[in-house]
Every structure is written in C-alpha cells, then in structure tokens.
C-alpha cells in the first residue's frame, strides 16, 4: 500500500532537470505576439481609437479594438456551469471594452511579428476617452450618487445575501450583556504565481486550440465558446504544467481574447503572455473585505447575540462574484454557534482590478475578522483565549443544515493541544502580558474551518479514465489538474492502492486536453483528493471487477475468488499468484478470438462536502521604535483527514503559511486614490515575503479519517493560509496591548497605531 507514504512527486525528476515544459516553453518561436492596449483611465467611455500611427510600426500584423469585438458578453468565473439561468455566472465581459471600468482595462490589441514591434505599436495606439468619476472603496460605491459601473446593478451592488437566526434584537436586551464591536479590514492582494498568465492559440482541424496556463481547462473551453459565440466542441484547451495558480488561473483570463485574435489573423499562431505588471492588474486579485462584527456576550463569554456585516470589493467585473464574500459570511455562524444572529454581506463593484478566486476563497478575510474579534472578546472580559475558544467553538457533533457537513471528531481540541505544546503557549501567554520596553514579545493563535469542494452550492462531478497497457501498467486521466500542489502524485497513490498495481506502474497523464481528457472541472476549492479521489476509486474498483471478469477466460477462477495485488491476479483463498496483469493485458489485447482493450471510464457525482479544521499559532517580537514585527515561531496544525502523501501535505501547508505571512505582514496592492492606478504592481514594490522573512515553519497534523471521503481525505490545499494573519495579530495584541484592525500589519500601520497608543518613548 502506498497511501500514507511520502513518495517523491511523480513530476519531481522532470522539474529538477528543467525539462518540464510550461506553456511558453511549448510555444513555437514563430508565434505572432499579441499585446494589449490598456486604458490609462479607471473609468471612462472609449470615444475613439486611433491606430494609424501604430499600423506604421514595422512588423505589425493586425490591430483590433473594442469596436471590433463580438457584441455578446461572457462570464469568466471558474465555476461549473449551471443550466439554471438564475445560477449562472454573470456575463459582463467583452473581449475588449468600450466602457473602461478599471485602470488598465483592455481597449485594443496588437498582433505583431515580434515582441518589440507589438510593444511599440501598442504604445502608439491613441485612445480618446469620455472620462467618468471613479470609486475605489466598496462602501463608498454603495452610496447614492456614486459612479455606477454596471447599469444593471443599482448602487454597484452585485449581490446581497443574509442569514437570520433567532431574534438578535430581542436577545441583546438581556441585562448585563457586554458589547464587543470591531471593524476589520483586509487588503487587495495578488496570487503571485511565479509563472505569469500566458496562453497561445491557433486554428487546426476546424477548431481553435488554446494552450494555456490554467487550473480549469474544461471550464475555460466553455468560456471561450461563450465569448466567441462558437460551438464548445470547436474549442480545444490544452493545459501543460503550470507555474502556480492559487485561484488566479481559476478564471478564464486571456484565453478567449487570444483565441479570437488567432481567428482574426487566419488561425495563425498567436501568443499572449502577461507581463508581471499585467498579472497584478489584469488578472485577478483577492477581494478586500471590510467586516463589522458586534457580539453581545455574558460575563463568562457566552454569546447571546451576534451581528456581522461585510462588504466585499469586487473590482470592475463580476468574475467569481458574491461567492467569495458569501462563503466567508457562512463561516460566521458555524465557527462559533450563537442562537441569535444576523449576518449581511454585500459584494460591490468598484474601479479596482477584478477580484476572483484566491486560495481559501473568502475565508482568510472572514477568519481574520472573526478570530481577531474572538481575542477582542477575551481581552474585554479577561478570558483566556484558548479556554474560551474550547468552550465557544463549534462542538463535536455539530451539523450544518445547509451543507450537511458534520464535525465528526474532536478536531479543534486535538489540533489546539498540539499547537499549545509546540509553542509552550500557556507559559508564554502569561509571561508576555504587561511588558514594557522597546522590544516586546507576544504569542497568539487562531482556529479555522474550511469546506471541501463546492457541493451543495454548485455541481460536484469528476471523471476518471483508466487504460491498461500491454505491460500491466495503467494510464490514469482525470480533469482535475496538477498545478504544483502534487495532485498527480496523490492520484497515482490512490489508483495504485485501489487497483492493486505498483505505484511505478501508474502513469497519471498530467496534461489535460479537452479533446481527450474526461470531464472534470479542475483545481479549486481544495477538492482534488476528495472529488477526484471518488472518481478514481469508483473507476478503479469497477476496472478491477472488469479485469477479474475478463481474467476468468485465462484463470478459470470466479472473479469473487480473485483480487489484484501488486500487479498480479491473486487467488484470495490461498494467496496463489495466478497470472500477472502484464500477461493478462497482452493476452487480451492480442487475442485472435476476443480482443479487448482494457479500459474503464467513470463519472462520479459528489453530493457531500467535508469540514476541514485546524489552528495556527504565532510568536512575535515587536520592535516598537522601528515599527516592525519579527516572526519568531509559527505552527499550523491541520486535521485534513488521512494524508495521502505526508511530505507533500506538509509542503502544501508550508506554502500556505508563507502566503499567510505575506498577507499578515506585508502584502497589499496599493491604488492611487485619484487615478485608480495600481502603484506597486511589480515584485519589488509588492512585498511578497522572501527567504529572509520567515522563521522555521512548523507543521503538524491530526489525522481523523473523513467518513464521507473515498480515501478519508478532506481539504488541505487552501486552508493553511487562513489562521496565520489572525494568529500574528493576536500575538501582537499580547505583546503590546495594541489591537490591530487591518492587514497588512506593516510598518506603516504599526507606526500609526503605536503613535496613537503613545508607545514611542520620549517622542521627538
């Protein structure tokens, strides 16, 4: 059995030698180069586009503008499609736009023989605008009279949803309640996969082919079909290895435009490669969400009534839309159940870059608010933050009525125990209270939960195809994609165990090609091992049964007497090896009587979801005069069920923690208030954490098998990012007594807050 073993990644050798081919590596060097003319206005109507000078640039093949594109709008979100019009993604994009809604919006595109010509021509295109006022803040955008981005959406509200439980207004009248209130702000941040968004397109065999760095090839096929108004079967998407995605590539980015551009130049090969600057501005970002929480609690902390309002900054177009904010809001009543509760969330258009999916989909924002607030309650009431959480958090046996998710084990207490022990939390938490001096230490923590996959909000389905080769090895295909997380390796481990073939004989086909690969929606929602796991198990079990049936002709043994073990047909009754799969497979394929190609394909619909749990702890040293937080020690503890590959699981968590550290301490896309221009859309000015910004990252697991899961697994890809920022924030609170209410907790913020708290001694 290989499940549970830390086997090396199936793609490690190629990646360690540099021979792994990513999108641009595959693109023929003769490709035409596309460059986009981006608006230098954040909100405007395009009056005219003058391409005369640009056309004179040698090497220019074609220039297309917002007046040339198809009229029909299309959606881009990486969601499974819905046949119910009310549940379909908002179609608000055009390939190029006449109504510019953010600084950098796409107005025209140049196709040229080479990069320099394309860039020169793009610079030479002159656009005339009717400039409109802009709005960058979600709450400002909701005010009457604010600039309107989309006519269909009054007050720029894309969607509003709410939750009501019990009677909040009545409940808070109880005498003696303590009110705790806070506003929590999270910034716009970007995924920063090291491979920028890139694709290339050409026409072949009556189809338009797009090779793209995407997490969701099958969904992108649909989006391209919708955007171009052509049959979806005439679109073929190929996804090679990709250099990270983190949700940014869970959207149709420039694949539709690239496909269209190719079709405008006779199907010639056209490459559209985002620069880093474009990746920051023209792809997707994480929603900035402002949360307002009021809790009415008894003196012992018992929650009597709670209220949440949150405003999600959608930016210029709907993309994933309200799903993100709604998911965060749904965390609120579940994490700390309270009988009387009101929650409201609004997703609001503004003239910022488009927000979409990003690792943990709304939960980092929500848990930052909720878990800072938990420590605020503790501080106000003088309660121990761990003891309080143990009392107030979702109890074992809790069932969410909507998702039917259940907390089957004592996961919160178990993970907290591990974290406390590693950090020596109890001693340090007390010791760090009431410090004085310039340099102070603090310790803090946060819990979290996360869903696995998207049921019942959306369709969950996965397909798997297995093909046995003449040597008894197996090719495995799923639509769920390898994006760096190690999915292919986990899939191979699952298939090997269920089918009974050695790990080395399982070949997961990494590249998805929508003409060939069975349908699967792709990599998102931490769904890979859960949903693809079910498809793999279903397919492998049926395949095994089929093989044993076919083997009857050769072994004369009833299928129920046999099993496949380590690549051999074995008689269970006495353990005798009857024949190898290699012999069987070759004999069957080349049989002159009854030839058969051993293969199986299964589609599995999934109608469950699973809670994933854990916590994070952080210890910090705060240099008050220098306004700096140094992270001394950090641990994430996860209950993600059974780990298919512990080494890969740990690596996933470390990466998520790193992203969490950046979110906590340094990352923020800054927009100029007047123009709406992103000021720091490059890797120097956008402060992604470097090798020197981390302490050792400690990772621990508690493995309670998930009862609903094919292999006992549940979400692990995204959750690691969630607890880091609130844990650090609560550590700073412990160190300094200063409660911070926004991210990132960078020196700019610390300077303001320490100044307000009069922490600077003998100030100048």
């Amino acid at each position: 059995m290989v499940i549970g073993k830390s086997l090396p990644r199936v793609d490690a050798l190629d990646k360690a030698t540099g021979r792994t081919k990513y999108t641009d590596d595959l693109c023929d060097r003769g490709a035409l180069i596309a460059k986009i003319v981006h608006s230098d206005k954040a909100h405007a109507y395009v009056k005219s586009v003058d391409i005369k000078e640009a056309l004179k640039v040698p090497g220019v093949v074609k220039i297309l503008t917002c007046f040339d594109v198809p009229e029909q709008p299309f959606p881009t979100a990486g969601h499974p499609w819905s046949t119910d019009p009310h549940h379909q993604d908002v179609a608000d994009r055009h390939l190029l736009t006449r109504h510019v809604r953010y600084y950098g919006d796409d107005v025209a595109a140049v196709v040229a023989e080479d990069e320099v010509s394309a860039v020169q021509a793009a610079r030479a295109v002159k656009v005339e605008y009717d400039v409109l006022p802009i709005v960058l803040d979600a709450q400002e955008a909701m005010k009457d009279g604010a600039p309107l981005l989309h006519k269909k959406y009054a007050n720029n509200v894309l969607a509003h949803t709410d939750i009501r439980r019990g009677n909040y207004e009545e409940a808070i009248k109880e005498p003696g309640l303590v009110k705790v209130e806070g506003w929590y702000d999270t910034p716009t941040v970007q995924h920063c996969h090291i491979e920028n968004a890139v694709c290339y397109a050409y026409e072949e065999a009556g189809k338009v082919v797009v090779v793209a760095s995407t997490q969701i090839p099958h969904i992108v096929r649909r989006c391209v079909g919708q955007a171009l108004g052509i049959d979806w079967g005439r679109v073929r998407i190929i996804k090679p290895y990709i250099g990270g995605g983190f949700g940014d590539k869970q959207d149709a980015l420039y694949e539709p435009l690239c496909a269209w551009l190719s079709m405008q130049v006779g199907g010639r090969l056209v490459k559209l490669e985002c620069t880093r600057e474009e990746t920051f501005v023209n792809c997707r970002v994480r929603h900035a969400i402002r949360s307002h929480i009021i809790s009415y609690v008894r003196a012992d902390g018992t929650m009597v009534g709670r209220k949440l309002e949150c405003w999600s900054n959608q930016g210029a177009y709907a993309s994933h839309g309200h799903g993100i904010c709604a998911k965060g809001m749904n965390a609120f009543p579940q994490l700390y159940p309270c009988p009387n509760l009101e929650a409201d969330s609004w997703t609001v258009f503004t003239n910022r870059s488009v927000a979409g999916a990003m690792r943990a989909y709304g939960m980092p924002q929500a848990i930052f608010a909720v878990e800072c607030h938990t420590d605020d309650i503790c501080r106000k009431l003088g309660l121990d933050p761990i003891e309080y959480r143990r009392r107030a958090v979702m109890p074992k046996g809790y069932v969410d009525q909507f998702s039917k998710n259940e907390l089957y084990s004592d996961s919160f207490n178990q993970t907290i125990d591990v974290g406390m022990k590693y950090m020596d939390f109890e001693r340090k938490y007390k010791e760090y209270q009431n410090q004085t001096g310039d340099i102070r230490r603090g310790i803090g923590m946060s819990v979290f939960w996360y869903n696995t996959a998207v049921w019942p909000i959306s369709l969950e389905t996965s397909s798997c195809r297995m093909v046995m080769n003449q040597d008894g090895s197996v090719q495995v295909q799923v639509g769920e994609t390898e994006i760096g997380q190690g999915a292919d390796t986990a899939f191979a481990q699952m298939a090997a165990d269920t089918l009974g073939v050695p790990f080395e004989k399982v070949h997961v086909v990494s590249c998805q090609d929508t003409d060939v690969t069975p349908y699967g929606t792709g990599a998102y929602a931490s769904r890979q091992t859960y949903t693809a796991g079910m498809a793999i198990r279903t397919c492998a079990e049926d395949f095994k049964a089929h093989i044993l049936k076919v083997a009857f002709d050769y072994t004369r043994m009833q299928p129920y007497l046999c099993d496949i073990v380590d690549g051999n047909i074995v008689r269970i009754t006495d353990g005798r090896v009857l024949m190898s799969l290699a012999d069987l497979s070759a004999s069957v394929l080349y049989s002159l009587d009854s030839s058969e190609h051993l293969t199986m394909e299964k589609t599995t619909q999934i109608k469950t979801n699973a809670y994933s749990f854990g916590c994070g702890f952080a210890e910090v040293e705060v240099d008050i005069p220098m306004c700096k937080i140094k992270l001394l020690k950090i641990i994430n503890v996860h209950d993600a069920g059974i780990l298919i590959n512990p080494a890969l699981a740990k690596a996933q968590v470390e990466g998520g923690m790193s992203m969490g550290i950046g979110y906590a301490l340094s990352e923020k896309l800054i927009y100029d208030e007047k123009t709406g221009k992103a000021l720091n859309n490059n890797l120097l000015d956008y402060k992604l954490s470097t090798f020197m910004d981390h302490p050792h990252l400690e990772v621990a697991f508690v493995e309670n098998p998930e009862p609903t899961s094919a292999y006992g697994t549940k979400a692990l890809g995204e959750p690691p990012v969630i607890p880091v920022a609130p844990a650090i924030r609560n550590a700073v609170l412990n160190a300094t007594g200063v409660a911070l209410y926004e991210l990132p907790m960078d020196p700019h913020l610390l300077f303001r807050k320490f100044q307000e708290a009069h922490l600077f001694a003998k100030e100048e």
Binding site: V116, Q120, R123, M626, N680, L684, P747, H748
Partner: protein, 294 residues
C-alpha cells in the same frame, strides 16, 4: 527582447567617451539593472546604448600610495563586499552594498551605476556620503574629481556631462582611518528591497573610548538626494559617549532631513525613522569602535 535602437560596446574608457561624444542621444549602460528595467518600462525605449560593461579596467578595489582606497566604478556590489581591502578598512560599505536587492542583483549591480543614476534610495550612497567619498570622472578633457556631496545635483541628476564616464570612487585615508561605521537599511521586508530610508554613521572615538572625536551621518531617502545631517554631527562631536549625547544627536537630525510624503512612506513616519535609525546606527558604530553607550 529590449527596444534598443543600437548598441555600441566600448573597448576602453576613451572609446566610451568617444562613442558618447559621437552619439549625443545614447544612454550609457553599466550593469543594466536600472537601464534595462527602464527600457522595458518604456522610459528609455528606443534609445542607443553605449555599453561599458566589458571594461574590466574599471573593476576592482585598490589602495593607492597615500592610503586612498580606489573602487573602480564597475565593481559589483558582491565584489565590494568580498574585497579584503574593503573588509579591513571600510567594512561598513561592504555591509551596506550587501543589502542591495538580492544576491544576483548584487552580482550585476555596480557602485558606479548606483551613484550615477542619482536616486536617493541607493544603498551605497549614504555610506559614501558618510565617508566623504570622491568621485572620479573621465571625459574628453581628461580626469576630474568631485566630492560626492557636489556630485549629486538633484533627484536623478548628477554632475556628469553626456560624454563623461564615472571611472572610480575614491575614499581618502583621512575619511576612514580610525573610523568605524554602521549602516541601517529600513525596508518593508528583509531582502529584494528598496530602502524606505537608509542611515549610515561613521564615528571616531578618543583613545579612551569615552569621547566622540568625530561623527558623520548620512541618509538616503531623507530628501531628494542622499544627504548628510551636519547639525547632528556638530551636536555630537567632542561630546562624551553617553545616552544623552546619542539622544541629542538623534533629535538633531530633524534639523537637516527633509523627507517627503509618498505612497512608499509618509513623511512623519520617515521622520520618526530618521531619529530612531540615527540613534541605533550611532550606538552600533560606537560599539564597533570599542566604545559603549551607558
């Protein structure tokens, strides 16, 4: 592929001067870590370039007979940090340029390029100010020298004619002998960073380590160009090594520094940092001299 109109590779300093004279619109390029980035951004797109990168005669650190340390302008940051002469006599400069960007940037970035681009955030510049460095410039009429304080004219502008090449940076013996220095780079992260503010202090103590004989403090990003804080220097010179002196010194820098508001940092924050860094850099420099602030 860069949008470059033409590239001329100089064979010698004289050749570089001649090429620049012959091509009045050409841009000089040393390591390229600034110029190429600007070309890509469109700022210097379509220009002719005169590359001096191949001029090994402009590389390396030497001590001249009078004890002056001569740093060839094309010496990369990493080579400065690793140089034994630098480590022995002006280690603070090696430490300062070891905070530029990351290792690969330090391998390509040159001290000449860092000073010629005239930006206030250059990590080498404040330390060179605190060392009273001399800039050697070669032009059609031969070699001239300028103190670094007059080499910088205004933001992004230095005293270098179109057909002149900065060939070396000179640190006179009297500037470093007996001094120890400390540089603090303030950034938002610990690597791949542009300085929010940089502060470099050079100090010389009395034989008994009780008195500050002389101190020089310079800043990057405390004004449009790197600058000294002479008021603070005067306030500390001749004063006893003690906490009060350090505090007075730190407070006095506010007389000289003139940071501005920008999205990279607010003015009041930068002012706060200027005093905090002055204090810490002086204390560290005193420690390196063998003194102790009580």
């Amino acid at each position: 592929m860069y949008d470059i109109k033409a590239l001329y590779e100089a064979k010698s300093v004289e050749d570089a001067v001649r090429l620049l004279t012959d091509h009045p619109d050409a841009q000089i390029i040393a390591g390229g870590s600034d110029v190429l980035v600007q070309i890509r951004s469109g700022k210097r797109a379509g220009k002719e370039l005169v590359s001096i990168y191949g001029l090994d005669e402009m590389r390396g650190v030497k001590m001249e007979e009078d004890g002056t340390i001569r740093i060839g302008s094309l010496t990369s940051f990493s080579h400065i940090t690793q140089d034994p002469l630098i480590q022995k006599h002006i280690n603070v400069l090696g430490e300062a340029v070891d905070m530029v960007g990351g290792p690969q940037i330090r391998a390509i970035g040159t001290i000449g390029g860092n000073t010629c681009n005239g930006v206030t955030s250059a990590d080498s510049a404040s330390t060179l100010f605190a060392l009273d460095a001399i800039i050697e410039i070669t032009g059609p009429n031969g070699v001239r020298t300028e103190p670094i304080s007059s080499f910088y004219l205004s933001a992004g502008k230095v005293d270098l004619a179109h057909n002149e090449v900065q060939t070396a940076i000179l640190i006179p013996k009297k500037s470093y002998s007996g001094y120890k220095g400390h540089y603090i780079k303030y950034g938002m992260r610990n690597a791949m960073e542009i300085a929010t503010t940089g502060c470099s202090v050079n100090v010389r103590l009395s034989g008994d380590k009780k008195t500050i004989k002389d101190v020089r403090i310079a800043y990057g990003v405390a004004g449009p160009i790197p600058m000294r804080a002479h008021t603070a220097e005067k306030a500390a010179a001749g004063q006893p090594v003690c906490a009060e002196t350090v505090d007075r010194f730190a407070a006095a820098v506010l007389e000289d520094v003139k940071p501005r508001d920008s999205w990279r940092a607010a003015k009041d924050f930068r002012l706060h940092l200027c005093t905090t860094m002055a204090k810490r850099a002086l204390i560290e420099a005193i420690k390196k001299c063998g003194g102790e602030v009580l």
